[in-house]
Symmetry: C2
Subunit: 352 residues, 2 copies
DNA sequence: TATTGTATTGTAACCGATTGCATTAAATTC
DNA sequence: GAATTTAATGCAATCGGTTACAATACAATA
């Protein structure tokens, strides 16, 4: 009976190195290294010989040794609040596609909406020596000190969607203020006068800006957005139900509702319908993100189209441009187009 | 005028190493290394001293040097068909959480449902020297030769959801056959007799198994599942519409519909409703995955609960167990519980 | 023939962390 | 006080590729 159980043995096949190849072919490791990197000084026949032997023996370059020497990783770090939202997974899909095309890998982690987790993630990314970092910050992130290490070493940090202000960091966003304005303006145009806005944590630009746009539209219409008409929540599905309860108990109920997240909006809408409110008759509703659920709910939800895939692609291209030195470190935010999609949940006036 | 533009300079700050720390503190690199790794042999005071200095100087471990030496990357590769589906992003969220807790990173890439892309991804993962590989195969994957390199080097390869048979590879799945049976059986119990099944590519276990279960239920009920009652599609949203058109033109229309994907089912349902079919009156429908949309559609969609988050967590734990040698390489598939969730879209009989 | 040039390959010093095997100092036991 | 532990630290080789700087061989030129 063997001393160790069979399944504890691993890596039976020895990993072969350029030294092995060199010895077998009676050449120097340097020549092998150069040949494998297609260095012009090496004889074509020698290259062919080495390539053949390498393939035969299943040689693979040890990227650690290589990176240790060259100080490049070809890896980009991505920190997002959550992986499992339609929006974020769409962004990531876009990122992965472009990164892959340019020979970069993606190291992805989620902060689960917690600043401390985000800090830990950043540290890991830093130690993993990512060539660049893409971040959408957590709900409760206050400081960006945990990115200082990157910045001081000139490792590009790019924020997307939920961004932080920093002179050295680029960002990719949509015009949230305008989107908020469009949403509110649309509700006003549909005849709503007591419009309520359900938003997220106002420390986050995306929510603060949407609210600003919301207020601007109301103020233009001569309506004051008092504090009672703005509700800050975590925009979860549970929050959606609570909002419905809340509205149900309001003496002067809103006739329009702008909720900064589709999933939350949809849940709220269902809860309201259960309480026999009609949508859009009693209350017109506008969501945000153009999540698949917005087209599935009855009535279909008016929302803001958010170009997630494009945002992912754009973010990667922007950070690669920085890495290649073709773009300055200091740059203006990249603003992508979003658009109001009008569906039935907000149409209070005739269609024609 | 400087020779290079200012923004092309990078990494101005010198990276400090354990040698720098050792020199500054008049210690040996070995002590510094041990201290940073919290080695028990090092004096607590010395550790504190080193930790402090390291923090002060912004030291970061060079993972390449470390990995080069230890031959471990602490990175797991994940190849999925698509990132942007509710199911997959939920799985990934679960994976990330566990991996992160155990100090592992995730290198994630998507095959976009193409075998050739999957092969390329596998190659990258191989060269990145991931410690293990988690795969859910693409729609059209025929062979698993591209994983042979891993297997022959005893790098664990674990399949999840869409799995391939291989004696050396573990897998994490649900009992798709049973789920398919449950779905069909439920429709039968609700009085359906002409039941149609819309499935995906039958080379994939998930679809083949669900179909087998479907057939078993029908055959038990004495109904023959003829080829006309089974439709193989790509389960996209477009497919959902086509299915509705197809049904609309069938002479003998089905009274029950089991679609192996919620998003597709929902789209189909909407298209059918537009054509004035009532759900579940004319046609009862069952989907698969318990996607958020299933609770949003009217009537709410009966579906199969798929434990995505748990699957992600389980898969990581299983592969880590292999890496730690606590589990044999050859093992039975891990089967997670799925469950039929009955909602309105399939209730043709009274509730009581 | 001596010199210079060209093509090709080799030598050896890195890159930075890890770790088996000492070594030294201090504490404990006899 | 001598002998033995115990605690803490150091030495030096190692991981595998890269690359500046030779070195060698042979052809071309003076």
């Amino acid at each position: 009976m063997p001393a160790t159980s069979p399944y504890t043995e691993r890596n039976m096949e020895k990993e072969i190195t350029i030294y092995d190849l060199a010895k077998i072919l009676a050449l120097s490791p340097a020549t092998v290294s150069r040949a494998l990197n297609d260095h012009p000084a090496i004889n074509v026949k020698t290259k062919a010989l080495i390539a053949e032997k390498a393939a035969e023996l299943g040689y693979r370059s040890n990227t650690f040794a290589s990176h240790l020497r060259t100080r490049k990783t070809n890896t980009l770090g991505v920190i997002v609040p959550r992986l499992n939202s339609n929006f974020m997974s769409t962004v990531l899909a876009g990122m992965e596609e472009v990164a892959n095309n340019f020979g970069y890998n993606l190291l992805i982690s989620q902060s689960l909406e917690s600043e401390s987790k985000e800090q830990a993630n950043a540290k890991t990314m830093f130690n993993s020596r990512v060539d660049g970092l893409l971040v959408s910050v957590a709900y409760d992130t206050e400081s960006i000190d945990h990115f200082a290490a990157f910045i001081s070493r000139n490792i590009p940090v790019l924020f997307f969607d939920r961004v932080m202000e920093h002179p050295q960091c680029g960002s990719v966003v949509i015009d949230n203020e305008q989107a908020g304005y469009d949403a509110a303006r649309h509700l006003l145009d549909e005849g709503c006068r007591r419009i309520m806005h359900v938003t997220g944590d106002l420390r986050r630009n995306v929510y603060a800006d949407r609210m600003d746009g919301f207020k601007r539209a109301l103020s233009e219409a001569g309506i004051e957005a008092d504090s009672a008409s703005i509700l800050s929540t975590d925009l979860s599905q549970d929050a959606g139900k609570s909002i419905a309860d809340h509205i149900d108990q309001m003496p002067a109920k809103p006739d329009g509702l702008f909720i900064a997240n589709d999933l939350c909006a949809v849940t709220c809408m269902q809860a309201l319908q259960e309480k026999s409110y009609t949508i859009p008759g009693d209350i017109a509703i506008v969501g945000f993100n153009n999540d698949p659920v917005s087209q599935v709910i009855t009535p279909q939800l008016t929302t803001i189209f958010y170009p997630g895939y494009q945002m992912g692609k754009t973010a990667i291209m922007a950070i690669l441009a920085q890495l290649n030195g073709t773009k300055p470190l200091i740059q203006d935010p990249i603003i992508l187009r979003s658009a109001l999609i009008i569906r039935r949940s907000s149409k209070r006036l005739g269609d024609s």
